[in-house]
Amino acid sequence: MLKFLPNNVIENSQKEFFISYTNPEQSMFGIIFIFPSFSLSEIIPRTMFSFSGSDRIQSQPDPKFKMILWLIIAGTRGGVNRAKILNLIKNNPMNANKIASVLNLDHKTVVHHVKILSKNDLVVKAQKEYAAEYHLTQIMKENQNVLEEIMKKIETK
């Protein structure tokens, strides 16, 4: 497009550009004009950036953790059983055999679910050779109300 303009016009416009961006007052005005005066954290809540920040209120679930739990429970095959396992070992830790008998599931299925849950840092195995119990991890314990919310939806159905 520039080549259709006469040379002196281009030179003038370049000179003006140079002047306006070397003059501190004008250039500052330009920057303010281009960037609106709000920050990103005003649009996206600050809790989105911190996984387990110390300033988080205990009663409010971590949105990021909520997303992970929802995805593991609602976005995978057998996710409902995973939610039931988490709900079962919430208060009293159990071993895989006992979980299987209480939930009326195959032992292999339970072992697989627990493996996935521990890979995602939701449950942890006790340091024991035989019949090791599984219990919830710290982050899962902190966000139990998310699990309760999901369990309520499962039970009402």
Partner: protein, 100 residues
């Protein structure tokens, strides 16, 4: 020479198959847990499915009938192929996560 258009359409069919698996799992979960999250997952997967159906329809109607359209479609075929193959890889990962 590789027929990019055919490869793109094969990839689109593959995507439809993968999406069927994903939607199947999501619907199974939605029947137990009825919430905005589960229905949202089904909606997103269905829209992706619609996209791939449109690609297949594009191939059937535009590409098959007209010689001139075929020429111009061929020029764009490798882009369509790249888009579809990337989507196939992405959906394969999603299926792996969903079904394990």
């Amino acid at each position: 020479m590789v027929d990019f258009m055919l490869a793109a359409v094969i990839s689109a069919f593959l995507n439809i198959g993968l999406l069927l698996v994903i939607i199947g799992t999501y619907v199974q979960n939605m029947r137990v847990i009825r919430s905005y999250y589960t229905s949202g997952l089904v909606l997103v997967a269905s829209l992706l499915m619609l996209q791939n159906i449109v690609i297949v329809l594009f191939w059937f109607t535009l590409y098959m009938n007209d010689k001139a359209l075929m020429m111009s479609a061929d020029m764009l075929a490798h882009y369509l192929f790249a888009i579809n193959v990337i989507q196939t890889i992405g959906l394969s990962v999603l299926v792996w996560i969903t079904r394990r």
